[in-house]
Amino acid sequence: MGRYVARRLLQMIPVFIGTTLLIFLMVNALPGDPVKALWGDKPPDPAQVAQIKHDRGLDLPLWEQYLHYMKGLFQGDFGKTIAGNRPILDEITQAFPVSMRLAAMAWTFELVVGITLGVIAGIRRGRIIDTTVTMFTLLVISIPIFVFGRGLQLVFGNELGWVKPTVQDSENLEQLILPALVLGLVGLAYVARLTRTSIKENRSADYIRTAVAKGLPRRRIVSRHLLRNSLIPVVTYLGTDIGALMGGAVITEGIFNVTGVGNLLFQGIARREGAVIVGVVTVLVLVYLLASLLVDLLYAVLDPRIRYA
């Protein structure tokens, strides 16, 4: 087990270098000069452009820029923004806690409600509750997220006035509830569907019949045997979804004015802030890698037949 984890951690290094290099090159291939863009549609001042480029190391050849960047990264230095000359680490440490809160709430929502709905629907398959859940999840999956976002904002924020239409303080958990619900909605639908299908299949498995035959209480059959064995696909989905919830919340963050990672990334791309994009993606890659490692380790917990040597 320990060796397996060590091996996996070592594998992360090439993945890490590969993704950062790839993103770095892609950002640099984008058309448009980020320094000149600071002047908007007014003519830029060549002396200042040269000064800023020199200051941020943008006048070096690309490979040297990358080496510089990586060198800084290992010392915890993410570089500075082109606009405003702010340490990117400050931007990241401001955005990630917000996104982590939002993602954690959305994820918990997915996990609890999604699995519950899935189990109920799977066990009572074909009944009205199953149809309702299936219909509901289909609806959620087929409607784009910004419709939910704007719709719920309009109803609860503008019309009913139960909450403020947007998040006033991105670090306030209470205010993040509505955006978290919106963000978790699609994931919830997938989790419910995956759980339902998996439960449905496993219900007719031999070991369930054995458990029923030996007279185990129904609650115990469902929770210890049926659910545990049905969770593998769900866990896979939930694991990778952590990263997606953190980095992919651009739309939800925009609607509710949450200053999280998605927004930082979006602004970074719009302003061609290469170092910001690479920095944020680097952290996201780490999150993905760790989440997928965790998922793999969880497999062994859920299914004793899976062993890592």
Partner: protein
């Protein structure tokens, strides 16, 4: 079409929600109706790009904060005439080369140090040095000695511009390389604000917590959340605030700000989102704001392309006549723009009606005849380049349809991903045929819309336009004795553009906004900025 459909969905959801709460109503009676002189106005802003230094701020989010914290020498009124703020007088000599600035005595910065001639001269010299990285430094280029402090390349050779001289405590002179009759208009802009001496020693600290001489004093800056300024009792200017302070709230999307504005959660916003153009007057009723904004939209010709290099001017004029500006303003912009009749926007000194004459009026038959007389459009096909990250597509398509329908010339939009990419193509002179352009006033003088955009070889002239006669006329206007004379000569230069047609004027912009139930009224000036010091807040 996914986007369009979904927008409809929202609209339907909105209708349902509205009818569901229709009986709630009556939220106009909020508050006591009494004005609270200590009330705080909130403004839907965004995170400023740079530190809050006047000479380093050109984008809107930082500008509006700087304007609350600082007061410059001069400003302008709604007609574009100069008004004196911190300056008692700004007077040129006979050649308009040496300008003497006299300050109103007794003004102080928020840290109680005096505002004197030195606060201006030192701040400008500091900002002109490229080592201090101030984005607006090119604004000092008219001053003698600028090239020593700010060479084209490399480090500053001198620390101070020789054209700036402190005469006494409250007087200094500015010597210009060439006479500019309207130079005081340039002094409105932020790089010409003063800074306290301490700010030059620790610019970073003072950029994060600026100390100015304006109506409001800096209170706090919560990064990406809020900037608060509070009324400063020591302010000596005319525009003393009628409220207790301003909270600049940071929004990342205008739609989010709009949602907050509808629920009185913020008091006003810079401009309503494009998606709400059709609804905002309904949503806000008499609290909707539509005011003149000195900005002009054009479609310009890339004169370096083979298509326009040698083409007869009649063809360009004909294309302009083929555009039904009024109808497009009504359908695409829901009546929120006004058809342009010249190359200078409204609300600036020297604006004249109808400079473009019949060539900016829709006349399909005349258009067709003119293009024919001019030998037709080479290739019988044009393209209009625009950036797709802003809502330009709809009107570009409408303009194209109008041209094709009237003249049979094929016309398509050429979408570029975003503004940065769009400007790069323009800078590299790689536009294929024509491009969308726009200009917001730097200062309210007609010369700003003319010489700075269409002079041969100037930075703002991206289309490679050149008209000798126009250059001569603008040079003459720059040599005029007085502002009025100069503005008049610039009007002549504008009229000349009819004969060389650098671009097709399309619409004048409007500032479209609204205000909440928390405040009495909010107005915007012709630069599109809210006049926040005049806002009166109701008691809660």
């Amino acid at each position: 079409m996914r986007g369009a459909k979904s927008a409809k969905w929202v609209a339907i959801a909105g209708v349902v929600a509205l009818t569901a709460t229709a009986c709630g109503g009556g939220d106009d009676d909020k508050g006591s109706g009494k004005v609270d002189p200590k009330g705080i106005v909130s403004y839907a802003n965004g995170e400023p790009q740079n530190l809050l230094q006047p000479s380093n701020t050109m984008e809107a989010y930082g500008s509006v904060v700087i304007d609350a914290l600082f007061t410059g020498l001069v400003h302008y009124d709604k007609q574009g005439n100069i008004t004196y703020e911190n300056a008692e007088s700004v007077t040129p000599d006979k050649t308009n080369k040496v300008w003497t600035v006299k300050l109103k005595p007794g003004w102080k910065f928020h840290d109680n140090t005096p505002v004197n001639a030195k606060s201006y001269v030192d701040a400008w010299n500091w900002a002109a040095d490229p080592a201090n990285g101030q984005q607006n430094s090119a604004w000092y280029r008219d001053i003698v000695g600028y090239d020593d402090v700010h060479p084209e390349k490399g480090k500053a050779k001198k620390k101070a511009m020789s054209g700036l001289k402190v005469v006494d405590e409250n007087t200094f002179t500015i010597t210009l390389k060439n006479g500019i009759p309207y130079y005081q208009y340039k002094l409105v802009y932020k790089p010409f604000f003063p800074l306290p001496a301490a700010a030059l020693k620790d610019p970073k600290k003072y950029g994060e917590a600026p100390v100015g001489n304006g109506p409001y004093k800096f209170a706090k800056w919560d990064r990406k959340k809020l900037i608060s300024v509070r009324t400063w009792p020591g302010y000596k200017g005319e525009d003393k605030p009628k409220n207790g302070g301003i909270d600049f709230k940071a929004y990342t999307k205008d739609t989010a700000a709009y949602a907050d504005l509808k629920s009185d959660n913020v008091d006003t916003m810079p401009i309503v989102p494009n998606s709400e153009l059709a609804n905002f007057k309904n949503d806000f009723g008499d609290r909707a704001i539509v005011s003149d904004y000195s900005a002009l939209n054009t479609v310009n010709f890339a004169f370096y392309t083979p298509q326009w290099k040698k083409t007869d001017i009649k063809v360009l004029q004909g294309l302009s006549m083929a555009i039904d500006r009024d109808t497009i303003a009504k359908t695409v912009f829901y009546g929120t723009r006004e058809s342009a009749t010249g190359w200078v926007a409204k609300g600036v000194k020297g604006y004249q009606d109808d400079a473009c004459g019949k060539f900016c009026k829709f006349d399909p038959k005349g258009a067709k005849d003119l293009i024919k007389a001019g030998g037709g459009v080479p290739g019988n096909k044009i393209q209009i380049q625009y950036n797709a990250d802003q809502p330009h597509k709809d009107w570009v398509v409408a303009v194209c349809n109008s041209i094709t329908k009237a003249t049979g010339v094929k016309c398509t939009g050429d979408a570029v991903t975003d503004f940065a990419a769009d400007t790069e193509i323009r800078d590299q002179k790689k536009v294929k045929s024509m491009y969308r352009s726009g200009w917001v006033l730097d200062y309210p003088f007609n010369g700003n819309f003319l010489a700075d955009l269409y002079g041969t070889g100037v930075d703002g002239n991206k289309g490679g336009f050149s008209d000798k006669k126009f250059d001569e006329l603008t040079a003459e206007a720059d040599k005029a004795k007085t502002i009025d004379e100069s503005a008049e000569l610039y009007q002549k230069a504008e009229k000349e553009l009819v004969n060389s047609f650098p671009g097709i004027p399309l619409w004048y912009n409007k500032t479209l906004s609204a205000y909440s139930n928390n405040v009495k009224k909010i107005e915007f000036d012709q630069a599109g900025d809210p006049v926040l010091s005049d806002v009166e807040v109701f008691e809660k």
